[in-house]
């Protein structure tokens, strides 16, 4: 197992180098190079500031030295200072935003797991029943729904018409004056809609995926054998079929990281949630180059980690992968 993980880790090295190369090129391909973008967009681009930028990007150095420095900075996650008026370190800004985005995404993955898997299994076991048909139509509609639109509708329904749930931010204005239980309840209420929406796209995909896996497994001989030896359906489904149908789901969860991150930009902007997605959106709107590059690279790292976890998780669950 350790050897497998080691081999798998080695494979990510060329990808890391590729990510660094591509992002390095992107910075230098920006019209006029990094300095001119910085100078055009940043009101405090004084001569001294330019000087600092030249030194920071090492633009007075040969290109391979510049790349070497960029590589070094990426390794230490040092993306320089944000162009925003506060001028803080990009890495620091990202660090304080990541937990929010990750928490919401992990909660929504949990939701996907809890809802999509039973749904997929039941649809497969009762294939072509009314339940299966209705869930198939729902899933297809689910694929097509623009998440930001659904967010608007839910905001209108639960926030404006019914007034049940808050529609912006992570906590209420009076959060600090609440008791401990009140604080927890307040946070939970703010999380309901974002978590639901972050998971929505995955919900449709995962239940569909689970259904087709399950259908595939049910056709296998060993399921027929289990039935033939007189096991009740519940045992066949949960003990024999489900375990094998669940295996590929591990992979899908790991591979869904980039989509979840992309989705975070949308729902964090709509619900005014101070996460990495909102930070990225603000960076794009103000053309904050160091911030954009920083989040882009961090996003790629997180995707890589997701892929890695998917492979390792799969290998842990399925000995055939380790051997192969």
């Amino acid at each position: 197992m350790l050897r497998y993980i080691g081999r798998r880790l080695l494979l990510t090295i060329p990808l890391l180098v590729g990510i660094s190369l591509l992002s390095f090129l992107a910075i230098h391909m920006a019209p006029g190079g990094p300095i001119s973008v910085a100078a055009d967009l940043n009101p405090k681009a004084t001569a001294e500031y330019r000087e600092r930028m030249v030194r920071y990007y090492g633009l007075d150095q040969p290109i391979h030295v510049q790349y070497g420095r960029w590589l070094g900075r990426m390794a230490t996650l040092d993306f320089g200072e944000s162009f925003a008026p506060d001028g803080r370190q990009v890495s620091e800004k990202i660090r304080e935003r990541i937990p929010v985005t990750l928490t919401i995404n992990i909660l929504s993955m949990g939701l996907i797991f809890l809802v999509a898997i039973p749904l997929g299994i039941y649809s497969a076991v009762r294939k072509d029943s009314w339940f299966d048909r209705i869930s198939t139509v729902t899933v297809f509609t689910g694929f097509a729904v623009p998440t930001f639109w659904l967010a608007l509708l839910l905001m209108i329904l639960f926030g404006v018409k019914l007034g049940w749930l808050p529609i912006s931010g992570l906590v209420s204005l009076e959060h600090d004056s609440l008791s401990l239980a009140g604080k927890a309840w307040d946070r939970a209420r703010h999380l309901v809609l974002p978590v639901l929406l972050a998971g929505f796209g995955g919900l449709a995909g995962m239940s569909r995926y689970m259904r087709s896996n399950m259908l595939e497994v049910i056709r296998q001989d060993y399921i027929a054998a289990a039935k033939a030896k007189g096991l009740v359906e519940r045992q066949v489904v949960f003990r024999h079929a489900m375990r094998n149908a669940l295996l590929p789901v591990i992979t899908i969860l790991g591979l869904s990281v980039p989509d979840l991150l992309g989705g975070a930009v949308i729902f964090e902007t709509i619900f005014a949630i101070p996460g990495m997605g909102q930070l990225f959106y603000q960076g794009v709107m103000s053309r904050d180059v160091p911030l954009i590059m920083g989040i882009l690279v961090i996003g790629a790292f997180l995707t890589l980690i997701g892929n890695l976890l998917a492979d390792v998780g799969y290998a842990l669950a399925d000995p055939r992968i380790r051997a192969g």
Binding site: A144, P146, W149, L152, L261, V265, F280, V284, L296, T303
Partner: protein, 286 residues
């Protein structure tokens, strides 16, 4: 690849497609929005850009079946003209992505070796960046316009197609008909474009149909965030932005454009799935 054979294969394909009720429904929706975008004036007599300060945010009525927006413009007219923009973006973006994907996939699969290794590692690296992040990052440095949006969505969306085409090419180039063409003295270009390319088109068509749905969703999300199609040019996404700003008093601004996006995307998805089943029954149910 005789002419008569291809012709009857196509008829066969259409017949199979017509038997699939969901695909036909999807096709009908797609067709409806095509007509809407071709002749929007038939669906609404109003000028989509005519501002009327006396009719701001009016709920749906006989004069304005889908109401008016924050500047008193007719929502139905804006949606009809917006359909044109959304479809244009969807098709051009997917066209760009498909062309790049086809060329990379054919080249990579046919020649193999170092070129293949380099191109496929490049695809791996591109796939490491969350696509939506990549699109936003590029747009940050450019003035957003409908053309930039098309190009950016296209240039960040070809990786899947290239993997698909490469895999097909790898198996196709070992087939007898390629060896036969080679024996007749056909050059690489002729083999790639006349013999291999046509055989990869079926899965590419499926991917492209589903891709249009994805591109329309992406465009509407970008426009909704204010970095896609810029007002006053109408797009389904930017009408929804107005819906968000007036969420407490004008539900119709939020409901209808989203419904249009939903139906269009659903239509392309159903049609795409239908085409997949009709071209290759073996793939059914995947």
């Amino acid at each position: 690849m005789a002419g008569g054979g291809a012709h009857s294969m196509f008829i066969d394909f259409l017949r199979r497609l017509a038997r699939n009720r969901l695909a036909v429904a999807g096709g009908a929706v797609v067709l409806f929005f095509f007509i809407l975008s071709a002749v929007p004036q038939v669906f609404s007599g109003h000028d989509p850009n005519r501002i009327d300060v006396l009719k701001v945010l009016q709920p749906p009525s006989a004069g304005h079946p889908l109401g008016t927006d924050e500047l008193g413009r007719d929502v139905l007219a804006r949606m009809a003209y917006g359909a044109r923009i959304s479809l244009k973006v969807g098709f051009v973006a997917v066209g760009i992505a498909t062309c790049i994907g086809l060329l990379v996939g054919l080249f990579s699969g046919f020649y193999g070796g170092l070129a293949d290794a380099v191109l496929m590692r490049f695809v791996d690296i591109m796939l490491c960046f969350p696509t939506f992040f990549l699109i936003l990052a590029v747009i940050a440095f450019l003035e957003p316009s409908i053309y930039i949006i098309m190009i950016v969505i296209g240039v960040t969306g070809w990786m899947g197609v290239s993997r698909l085409v490469r895999a097909e090419t790898l198996s196709l180039k070992e087939r007898d008909f390629v060896a036969a063409a080679r024996a007749q003295g056909a050059g690489d270009a002729r083999i790639i474009f006349r013999h291999i390319l046509p055989n990869t088109l079926a899965p590419v068509l499926v991917a492209a149909t589903l891709g249009v749905a994805g591109a329309i969703l992406t465009e509407s999300a970008l426009s909704f965030l204010g970095i896609g199609v810029q007002p006053p040019t109408p797009s389904w996404g930017n009408i929804l932005t107005a819906g968000k700003d007036n969420i407490e008093f004008a539900w119709w601004l939020s409901v209808y454009p989203g419904l249009a996006i939903l139906l269009t995307v659903l239509g392309y998805n159903l049609l795409g799935e239908g085409i997949r089943d009709a071209v290759d029954p073996r793939l059914r149910g995947r």
